[in-house]
Symmetry: C2
Subunit: 443 residues, 2 copies
Amino acid sequence: MSVAPAGLLTVEAARDAVLAVAEPVGTETVAAGDALGRITATTVTALVSLPPWPNSAMDGYAIVAADTTGAAEAVPVTLRVTGDQAAGAAPTVPVTRGTAIRIATGARLPAGADAVVPVEATTPLDEAGRLGSRGRDATGPCPNAILVHEAVTAGGSVRAAGSDLEAGAVLLEPGRALTAAAVTLITGAGVENVRVHRLPRVAVLATGDEIRAPGEPLGPAGIPNANGPGLRALVTAAGGHAIDLGIATDDLAEVRGHLRDGLTQEADALIVSGGVSVGPYDVVKTAIESIGRIDLWRVAVQPGKPFAFGVAERPGGGPPVLLFGLPGNPVSSAVTFELFVRPAIRAMAGRLDVLRPVDRAVLGEAISKSHGRRAFLRVEAERDDTGAPVRDGHGRVRVRLAGGQGSHVISALAAADGLAVIPEANDELPTGAEVALWWLDRA
Amino acid sequence: MSVAPAGLLTVEAARDAVLAVAEPVGTETVAAGDALGRITATTVTALVSLPPWPNSAMDGYAIVAADTTGAAEAVPVTLRVTGDQAAGAAPTVPVTRGTAIRIATGARLPAGADAVVPVEATTPLDEAGRLGSRGRDATGPCPNAILVHEAVTAGGSVRAAGSDLEAGAVLLEPGRALTAAAVTLITGAGVENVRVHRLPRVAVLATGDEIRAPGEPLGPAGIPNANGPGLRALVTAAGGHAIDLGIATDDLAEVRGHLRDGLTQEADALIVSGGVSVGPYDVVKTAIESIGRIDLWRVAVQPGKPFAFGVAERPGGGPPVLLFGLPGNPVSSAVTFELFVRPAIRAMAGRLDVLRPVDRAVLGEAISKSHGRRAFLRVEAERDDTGAPVRDGHGRVRVRLAGGQGSHVISALAAADGLAVIPEANDELPTGAEVALWWLDRA
């Protein structure tokens, strides 16, 4: 599957060469509560046990379990209520045999108690020994005593200290993405700040005499700038911080000036779209060579050529600044980004999962492609009424082409859910053929 | 599946009641290039056709196709080169019979031409009629004439105006999330600004005498604030703008003050965690009733009670401010958020897909749960070495419990990939049973 015609690189060979020089760009400390989506740079451990002390799982009464031996609905035992334990307060009165302390859910278990009887299993007694109503509610004045209508075992309705996790336990390994639940976990375990990878700064420059900024009249031969905003959005979706270097015409000094601007803005990577083919107006390669070195790569992929990659020295030292020359064509540009730039950004961001998970799909229509190149077709998945992909009896997603597969057809790119990967060796595939599927990011 | 015991609401009934009052909160205009992740509020149409004018798909020569009739490798036809057409420039010289204009990829096709012959199929001739090398490269001085070695059909290597899409075509329907490819599409079609839904402002207040702010000593009975940061992260992941209202003790005036602060900050929804059960220290309900109305709901769900929901009038008018009272327990709080708050935030954000897609999973171990309640178990999916979920022969994801299912076990919540949905009627399910699976957001 990964054999390319002589003189062409396979996708893997090209990607490996990029990833060989894509290093994490640095780390920073952020408040744990603001760390959603960030990638851990170090192991995060619990500072306190969860729960920190034994507490009540119910509204009820903290008791000595042995006092309830033999208790039953019709044969309750009576316990004297000696106090009221709220959450957040330090217990002051211990529980002794024959006594109970009313306790709220989450409140710390008083010394001496080894169980909680839920309020539902008790009936309150007032000072005069009058029965209240079999209690659902734990509100109101504290009763003088209670009847307990069931036998409780030691540990019942008690969450032991450290029963979720112990102080010092590993919460997150390095390289883990902080989900909302991970934020809950680390803040709950007393972690105030977390060391995370810095977001890679990725500067985007669109080039071409025909490219017009938003609002600029197109004139007889201009086209709106799609690659600049499109690539910045892809950078953001990949987990980078996008920097807008604007538009440069096919003028050597102008392209060079914009690239130097990118270095001044401390970019970790520069992406230039357009101007890397072999046409007479392609000055990008020459401009890039004024700040680093770059090679035009011939990769056996469709769509995707031309693609240029190189590195520049980082002003002030450190890992090299990565230089990407992408096709001017928005579809080729997006696919080349997906293949080579996204993995590099994720590696620079400290992620361990730099590549897409590979799903299995089945083609809903016959396709054909260039021989000897791996094709990444823009496809749409069939979905059920919940929005979940429909899978066939083998668990494979049913996909169809999202539109025309010409490399200028942006509408099909926008309609696509994913990329179907067609191996180099297949010139065509029939309806029903199985292919690998990469899901694209949904916003 | 959705039948709840008498006196309890089903998850659907509770969610439908919430969604009945969750309206989009408003719209705003943003630059198309900054719209990644936003939700369209109106139909977005193409302002220009793509491509705007016929252009060349190759580096080559713009010609009249009929001139090449009969041309072949050994029988080339000769065409006089009368100009050089760069991208971004308006063509000035038309192509006439017997002539050709050198053209770059993406450049506008000159008048008179109806095809492009790729440079690879030509040999340049200089002024003296000397043959140059059969051309790959389209660089260097423009030749005087060319030999064309193949017959070209009309339209060959030309991208017709509007062949991707026509001006006025619908690019995005209302309620569509703007992916990176959608940003490429609309900017490419000349759209400068786009009307999107405003992000709902969702204020989060953690309550409880036991809750301590980051850095504050826990003392004998304090616990770190996990719900505040955890819920704010959930709000952000759901597509809302999170507002931090801090921590309130179980004091009526204090809770009320924080809630009023939320209204002052123009919150579209307020989430209060803790203090909505029936314990003696629960002042949240009373506090909420000072700004709106709220009901304690009994939902047949595990984990998840207590849950309170209501509305307040919006100061200044407009759709009501939604009021959510969630359990103080972080796991119950997160699951209740998932069931009721996330759909509301997505509805307020103008999304059409407010609920999770429902996948199919198979249990890797036997489970048991409370009778008559729908359970949402925190589960981990088995994954292959690409990170894709492993599916069985029926396409079902293999899942296992992510850890203890007690409602205080945050570690299992953080380890979970998804929620396995166990119907009310099942008290237990054996290994191999099929269940519905909701994937949770991965960061």
